[in-house]
């Protein structure tokens, strides 16, 4: 039994990247403490166990944050539960028919004024840079009048999250999923159900291999939607266009 474990350790020794989540390829060499930890993990079961506990703990922490707020729903109703969930995750929202945003000021103390509006659906939700995940979306399921959803820079939003967004297919008009590190082209295919979408922001998604092609396909898939896709390097074609006129200038200069 120990032999396969040793084999596993030797196999992991062959990997040169010691980063925990190598989602983006970086040419910076790994820091010393990471390399030391990797060295110890390959030789001692205790270190391996402690490190796996640490990553499990972190994951369970995120799961707990995204738990279903059933108690709040039973006491105050599903809309207040959704609002409370958003405020606890440090997001912000706006009720239907109201003009003020709750939770938009990160430095202010927790404001309980949102309890005054009972049984009002949410219209705009901004969960940028929060830890919302697939489990947490269950808290927002009843919101049938949701028009704007902003998920910029959320590390836990992935393709499965996008596939669940079909519950808002009648009402959602604006979606911002830029800078989400886990989204790939397979998840963008899941946005086909959002026929009411008018504005979509898919900027700076590192895991899309051909951003130009994907944007064209998205525009075909959602004809009424305006797609924003900045932050991509379309350079190879631009380089050719830049050098071609330079060559002709040189030619005319010499000739």
């Amino acid at each position: 039994m120990s032999a396969p474990f040793m084999r596993c350790c030797q196999r992991s020794a062959l990997l040169f990247a010691a980063t925990r989540r190598p989602l983006s390829s970086s040419s910076v060499s790994t820091p010393l403490h990471r390399r030391l930890l990797l060295f110890l993990t390959q030789r001692y079961y205790d270190v391996e166990m402690l490190l796996s506990w640490k990553s499990n703990w972190k994951r369970r922490g995120i799961e707990k944050k995204n738990a279903y707020y059933g108690y709040t729903e039973r006491l105050h109703g599903p809309d207040i539960a959704a609002a409370f969930y958003i405020l606890t995750m440090k997001g912000s929202f706006r009720y239907v028919g109201q003009s003020e945003w709750f939770g938009s000021d990160p430095s202010a103390k927790f404001n309980w004024d949102f309890l005054n509006h009972k049984d009002t659906q949410l219209e705009e939700v901004n969960m940028s840079h929060t830890l919302i995940s697939f489990r947490g979306l269950r808290n927002l399921e009843g919101q049938r009048s949701l028009r704007t959803l902003s998920l910029r820079g959320c590390p836990e939003v992935d393709d499965w999250f996008l596939s669940r967004l079909h519950i808002f297919q009648d009402s959602l008009e604006e979606l911002d999923i830029s800078q989400c590190l886990r989204i790939t082209a397979g998840g963008l295919a899941a946005l086909r159900n959002l026929k009411g979408l008018r504005r979509l922001d898919v900027s700076s998604l590192p895991r899309i291999s051909n951003p130009g092609l994907v944007v064209i396909l998205l525009e075909e898939m959602l004809p009424h939607c305006q797609i924003t896709a900045t932050g991509y390097n379309y350079n190879p074609r631009q380089e050719q266009d830049e050098t071609a006129p330079a060559r002709t200038e040189v030619g005319t200069g010499q000739g």
């Binding site: 039994m1 079909h166 790939t184 397979g186 396909l217």
Partner: protein, 510 residues
Amino acid sequence: MSTWRRLQVKVCTAHGLLTSRRVTERHTWLSGRLPPCQSLSTGTPLRNDFFKDLEAQLAAMRRKAADALPGSSWSPFEVNPNLPPERADIVIVGGGVMGWSIAYWLKQKEFSRGAVRIVVVEKDPTYSKASTVLSAGGIRQQFSLPENIHMSLASADFMRNINEHLGVLNEDPVDLQFNHSGYLFLANEEVAHIMEENYSTQRYAGAKVTLLSPTQLKEKFPWVNTDGVALASYGLENEGSFDPWTLLNAFRRKAISMGVIQCCGEVTGLKYMSSIVTTADDERLELRRIKSVRVHMPNSMEYQPVECAIVVNAAGAFSGKLAEMVGMGSGPKDSIAEIPLPVEPRKRFVYVVHCPDGPGLDTPFLVDYSGVYFRREGLGGNYIAGASPEEADEPDTGNLEVDHQFFEEKVWPSLAHRVPAFEKLKVTSAWAGYYDYNTLDQNGIIGIHPLIPNMYFATGFSGHGLQHSPAVGRAVAELILDGNFQTLDLSPFGFRRILDQEPMLERNIV
């Protein structure tokens, strides 16, 4: 005498030649360095002889000491390292996605580390004929049996959290390349009522499916020709396609990191002990208990009998052969032992076509009522298409050669009829793979045969084994370690229906 003299002369001349060479060498070296006294080599040594030998001897001594100390794997007998261990608790025959899924779940569920010793035996490490890697890789919840729907939902749940389950510390996270495209089933008037019944079963079981009328279908997918379509069923969530090779390797990597032993070899025989048992109706039955599995090494006469407590038959298309080895199907007439395992390989073709004007990013996995299916592959206008042949003209299963006539005659006309853009397409590549076809009812067989108490079956899935593999792996692990199903009750898939010859038909087979 003269010969002796001649020999002496020869020796003298030879000696003279040698000495002259040494003199010439000395001359050439006088300009450079001091030559050693008795060396005949033309190169200059770096160090003195004595130190060079000493270093080699010290290195040899270090190696001998390392071998002698405990912790080294030196043994005076020559042992083939590829042989499986002599004793194991569970031997899983078949290293496809089903076998490795069972191995992973067994290790996941064991109550103390190293409690169960598992060996997975796979005869072809290149997986050239394995059904897993040759499959189209789709997952759907649109079945007619609630158990199948539950299994698909559980497997989709597993794949959503795949890094939680199959993530190994300090290794890359698993990327299944899941394309959430959804399945679209089309029905004509004759089968529309079956589709409606299936829809209510699916919704009741928790699948997110919606029904579309022809006008709604045309509105949603303008490239579809709705001629002859009475009803369409469209999956919204948890449906799509993924990379089966990644899933197989993820299961394998995690299982090996947890201590499962992988063995490359073929099972050529089983040793079992028989005992005759009399039932309450005074019928005499022969119970066979497997004692050891004979694993033959590839391209060699070597074999290793592995003594085991439990054998799991996850051999896919070749499970019928394994069942014959233990005597299923060769019993006395009108007895349970006479019924063979109804799993046989059936060849299916998959064609890769390129069509630049085809449907775009939102292409679902479309399955027509004529049996033809296609799905998008990648972003470059490539599609994967295929069809299930009629019962009468099943292709020969001797080899995995592709029949392009089949595409021209059966697949392309229906495809072009359904999607007019496919009239102009080009077949870029094709392959063939085996279905582990259950001839009784095309549903999996999960459980134990009543006369062979320690052989567990997980085979016969007829084309939807890959999408059910996480759920089936967990179910078989629960059967083995807990004695009964815990999370999903898959007892309808047991052996009872095979022995009673009562098929449990799935009406939505692709």
